[in-house]
């Protein structure tokens, strides 16, 4: 069930790029492999914060730090990019990749994970890196505002949809068992709450009038009352659902599609009104310049927006941002009748302040109210 689904398996690649150590590292250079010694040296060098490959060697080494869910998609896109870059510049690119929760990844990069490129699930997580002066350009000025792929907040329900869950209002029925991750740690959980609250504010949840803030908050409380487990990230939450717990999991559409591709028999339900999840990508200027990898890093980010890469994203359940690919895949990603974005709440900064502030935010208050009854 878990096979390679865990995003944490990729963490062996977590280490910063290494200087070339031909005797120990060159694949096929002599028959002697010293994996243990090599590992120890890797760890030691990593611990020392080693300087990176000197310019002048042929291969460029890029480190990609990403959030947990697009691991499979990047696994396919990276070889495409390597071939593309080789044909254009004659250079080889090697990759080190790391996948974990968006917030944790953002903190890791700030704390010294020297990633040349980050792909995260929330704009604010990229902003945090910018605030640490590691991203110095305006990443939102890139094509598509730096958003590389989309998804929507959707539901996973049991086969045959035995609880007849078709829209947000159904999540509040008494006795239902709902899963959503912990909004304190999970970007996905915040998207879920914004989707739920936004749909209610827009008058798309039966029983709540449009712009009835009190009513929308009350609805949030009723759904939160049904939540039985809050895992620490979106993927763990869906794994809990796969273990047979819960009637419905609120999650990314792409996670449900990927799970189905892997043989899970749950069903996807897209509510009538939901939020567009926009996931950004950016070059980390500070590290890319230090490594002398800016050209390759920028080429990689640009490549992610090409139809070839967008096609792969679509294949793994992400809604493409490229209009041509979006057109071609429209059958797989049905239009949401009432789709909104984080602008509904005045952008992420305001949404975080109004809704997710500890104790005084709407979400915290709804959690408290849900436990009080």
């Amino acid at each position: 069930m878990m096979e390679s689904r865990s995003p944490y398996l990729a963490q062996a690649d977590f280490l910063p790029p290494l200087p070339k150590l031909p005797l120990l590292w060159e694949r096929g250079a002599g028959g002697v492999r010293l994996p243990l010694l090599a590992t120890i040296i890797t760890l030691l060098l990593a611990a020392c914060g080693s300087p990176t490959a000197p310019a002048g060697t042929d291969a460029v080494r890029l480190t990609l730090a990403a959030y947990s869910t697009p691991a499979e998609a990047y696994g396919k896109i990276i070889p495409l990019f390597q071939a593309d870059f080789k044909s254009k510049s004659g250079q080889d690119v090697t990759f080190a990749t790391s996948f974990q929760g968006s917030g944790a990844q953002s903190r890791a990069v700030i704390g010294g994970l020297e990633a040349d490129v980050v792909a995260l699930s929330l704009g604010p997580d990229v902003d945090a890196i910018a605030k640490a002066k590691l991203i110095t350009h305006d990443w939102t000025s890139a094509p598509h505002k730096g958003i590389v792929s989309n998804s929507v907040v959707a539901f996973a329900v049991r086969k045959g949809n035995p609880r007849h869950i078709t829209d947000w209002a159904d999540l509040a029925q008494p006795g239902l068992n709902v899963l959503t991750p912990d909004a304190a740690s999970s970007g996905g959980a915040r998207w879920n709450i914004l989707g739920l609250y936004g749909a209610a504010l827009r008058g798309q949840v039966s029983g709540v009038a449009a712009n009835d803030q009190k009513g929308a908050q009350d609805f949030m409380t009723r759904v939160l009352k049904n939540v039985s487990v809050m895992d620490k990230d979106a993927r763990t939450s869906l794994t809990t659902f796969e273990k047979g717990i819960g009637d419905v999991a609120i999650t990314y559409e792409n996670e449900v599609l990927l799970g189905q591709q892997r043989g899970q028999d749950y069903q996807l339900v897209i509510p009538h009104s939901t939020i567009l999840i926009e996931t950004p990508v950016a070059v980390v200027d500070g590290y890319a310049d230090r490594h002398g990898t800016r050209a390759a890093a920028e080429a990689f980010v640009n490549f992610l927006f090409t139809p070839a890469a967008q096609q792969v994203f679509a294949q793994y359940g992400f809604r493409p941002v490229d209009p041509g690919v979006a057109q071609k895949t429209v059958a797989e990603f049905p239009a949401v009748p009432d789709q909104f974005t984080v602008d509904q709440f005045g952008g992420w900064t305001k949404a975080n302040a109004d809704i997710f502030t500890q104790d005084s935010g709407l979400y915290s208050m709804a959690i408290a109210a849900a436990q009080a009854k």
Binding site: R107, A184, S185, V227, V229, K232, I245, Q358, S364, Q371
Partner: protein, 288 residues
Amino acid sequence: MTAVPRPTRAGSGAPPPDPIHWGRGALRGAALTYLLVLLVIPLLVILQDGLQGGLSGLWQAVSGRVPLAALWLTLWTAAVMAVISAVMGTLTAYVLVRYNFSGKALLNGLVDLPLSIPTLVTGVMLVVLYGPQAALGGWLLNVFGWHIIFAPPGIILALLFVTYPFVVRAVQPVLADLDREPEEAAATLGAGGWTTFRRIILPALLLPVTSGTLLSFARAIGEFGAIVIVAGNIPLRSQTAAVYVLSQVESENRQGASAMSIVMLAISLSVVLLVYRLQSRGQRGPAE
């Protein structure tokens, strides 16, 4: 600390070069440095972090509804665990010491197993066994309406599992060394088994039972791996202090995380110190 006999000896003429002395100093230095680097410095960092805003800042950070509820849940589940552990641990130790049966060696070896199982795995095992979809968990839910996993009983079960060896291993050696004569005398005087246990054996075991129980309590305060799997982690309902610390780290509230850590540390440390005191008093006791 400074009661080293060196100065007095220095007064009695020129001290010969003393390689053992030198070695002793180096050993002591190494041990202290190790302790300092591994334990003391990280603790000081946490203290500094959590006390940024002084004691009032610390209080403010942990007196919100969510952290207080997390702390309360942690304390009461640990207390329930401790009571069950005290009774059942003593019973287990008694059986292991006083009875002979086949498989005793195996059972004795199993006692320490929880210490070597990753606590995350403990959590997963409990979910597999008691989860609402599992045979046993489903039966308990349907027949009795008991929610085990994602509710306090799950937390208590996880804590019981994780701290299983503490009471058993505290009681076992004392019970094994216990002088049997008073018991035989009691039996001769016509005391029943229960009376003998209550009047003769139990008083002797009071100290090890108490210290084992308190140690298991201290250990339970900080338990994370098993809890994060079985508890459900919903603020104000099923989020424990350790899981709360994680959620604060994850949401960039380092001071909140450190403040709660300090409170947990303070509780555990005072319990451990209490055990230490009880034990040293117990050792001195018979001599006085």
